[in-house]
Amino acid sequence: MTLATVALLLLAAAAILEVVFAFGKAGRADPVSPWLLVSAAAILFSVIAARSFAIGIFAVTGTFESLVFFSGTVAAVAAAYRFQRRLPFSPFVAFGATVASAVLLAVASSPIAPRNLQVPVPALRSGWLALHVSFSFIGESFFVVGFVASAAFLATKNGPKRESLDRIAYTAVAVGYPIFTAGALVFGPIWAEAAWGSWWSWDPKETWALVTWLVYTLYLHLRLVRKRHDALPSAVAGLGFLCALFTFFGVNFLLAGLHSYG
């Protein structure tokens, strides 16, 4: 059994516990699943550390490693949400984030993400790789929580519940947006200038990262003009996460560009 499989089992156990407690009489949060999430994240990060050690550079250069790292950061963010005390607890958000982490890890085990460890091409041998990729994925991990909270917002008509979910979604985006900006749209262009001699090339990955950023910018501005938080900002936050997913999966598999490395 591989370490990634152990992490997947821990995530599955956390999700089951969250469901059982959500439908339990008290409806309170279980005390065990946050620790299962932390353990899963630690295992996934150790997988990345071992592969990084083997190739001598931060191993997020392939689809498998990227998905493992993304899954680990989502698990870590889900655990952080469970441990914090400022935001209201939502069983659906906790469960949704845990499932998202497990799904990413399951995709990493699929044929679209070959496991063989490949050494990076010359263009990827840079210290900027770690900053660019890790910040982008950490930002997107907060967008996962924002997406789940927004989906729950759209699914419920309960006023107080909606208010709580809106606050969770906004806080997740407010934390993820600066981190994503730093990773995708600041560190990325700085690296591109050093590697390609052009800080922006309208490559499909760059354009979709900008589209993702603009959609979240739209979300933040919509919240300014719509004082009563209705469905539109939540729908836009959901769309933002779908754009982030397309930036990763869609562009990698459908649109060729400068970010395609064989």
């Binding site: 050494v119 010359p122 600066p178 749209l185 700085i190 959609v215």
Partner: protein, 288 residues
């Protein structure tokens, strides 16, 4: 003046413009960019292909439509930023994070426009012994061109070892231009773009007779046509001939001048600083 402020300083206009940028940006990644007219007519048919060409969607990010959209966005940003700054100052508020973001974005857009207008790119081939003259009278004496590999044979890095001089005065010796490690000199940057091994005939002239090694790999992007700098090359001798031919290592170097890059870099840092300032404050103010 008040009408202008109301129209262009509106958050609703900002929302509409951002939505427009999102939709057109997505479309521009779906429609292949930079192809010739026949490609669009064949792929999308007469009407749609003609529409793509007429609206500039074949080269969207340099089309008048996109430039007008960005110009409107810049005016909207500036008007919003000034209005907001004045309102906040009157109210005695210290929430200047959004103003910093807006200012950074305006500088970024200005920098991007300046970069598009002033950036210059040229390409050079370099072999050991070559002497490459760059704009401004800088000379690169190529001492060595090499590649390093991983144990499995895959390329690890491509390197061009050069001495830099100007007016017979040596400025740098033994500088290694590598992928992700450009040479910066006199407002120019010299990038290692690709590496190849070429077979040349005994007379040492690689032109025409050489076949590129099939294993040679581009380090970054392929060469773009139609761009040049005033760089020139004096060829050095080829490696000793074996049975009528010899193999020489050739680097493709890209020479870039972009006077706007420092402005763009500063703008990116300002935008990031503004975003962190804004959301750190907002999150601190969130009720527990």
């Amino acid at each position: 003046m008040r009408g202008f402020r109301v129209l262009f300083g509106s958050v609703r206009l900002a929302i509409a413009l951002i939505a427009c940028l999102v939709l057109t940006g997505i479309l521009a990644t779906i429609v292949p960019q930079g192809e010739d007219a026949a490609f669009y007519l064949k792929r999308y048919g007469g009407a749609a292909g003609g529409l793509i060409r007429a609206t500039g969607f074949d080269r969207f990010f340099s089309s008048p439509f996109f430039i007008i959209l960005i110009a409107l966005f810049a005016v909207n940003l500036a008007t919003c930023a000034i209005g907001r700054f004045l309102r906040e100052r009157r109210a005695g508020s210290r929430r200047f994070g959004p103003d910093v973001i807006h200012l950074g974005l305006i500088v970024l857009l200005a920098g991007a426009g300046y970069s598009a207008a002033s950036r210059n790119v040229g390409y050079l081939e370099a072999s050991p012994g070559d002497s490459l003259t760059l704009p401004g009278g800088f000379v690169l004496a190529v001492r060595d061109v090499s590649s390093t590999s991983y144990p499995d044979g895959r390329p690890r890095d491509y390197l061009t070892l050069v001495d830099v001089s100007k007016d017979w005065k040596i400025l740098r010796t033994g500088y290694r231009i590598g992928v992700n490690h450009p040479l910066s000199i006199g407002g120019m940057s010299v990038y290692q773009m690709a590496y190849a091994e070429k077979e040349v005939s005994e007379d040492g002239d690689g032109s025409g007779s050489g076949a590129e090694d099939a294993a040679s790999l581009a380090a970054g992007r392929s060469a773009q046509a139609g761009e040049s700098t005033q760089a020139s090359k004096a060829s050095g001798p080829a490696a000793p001939a074996l049975a009528g031919t010899s193999t020489i290592a050739v680097s493709e170097l890209m020479v870039v001048t972009d006077p706007a890059w420092p402005l763009v870099f500063a703008a990116l840092v300002v935008v990031l600083f503004g975003i962190v300032l804004t959301f750190a404050r907002k999150l601190r103010e969130e009720k527990p």
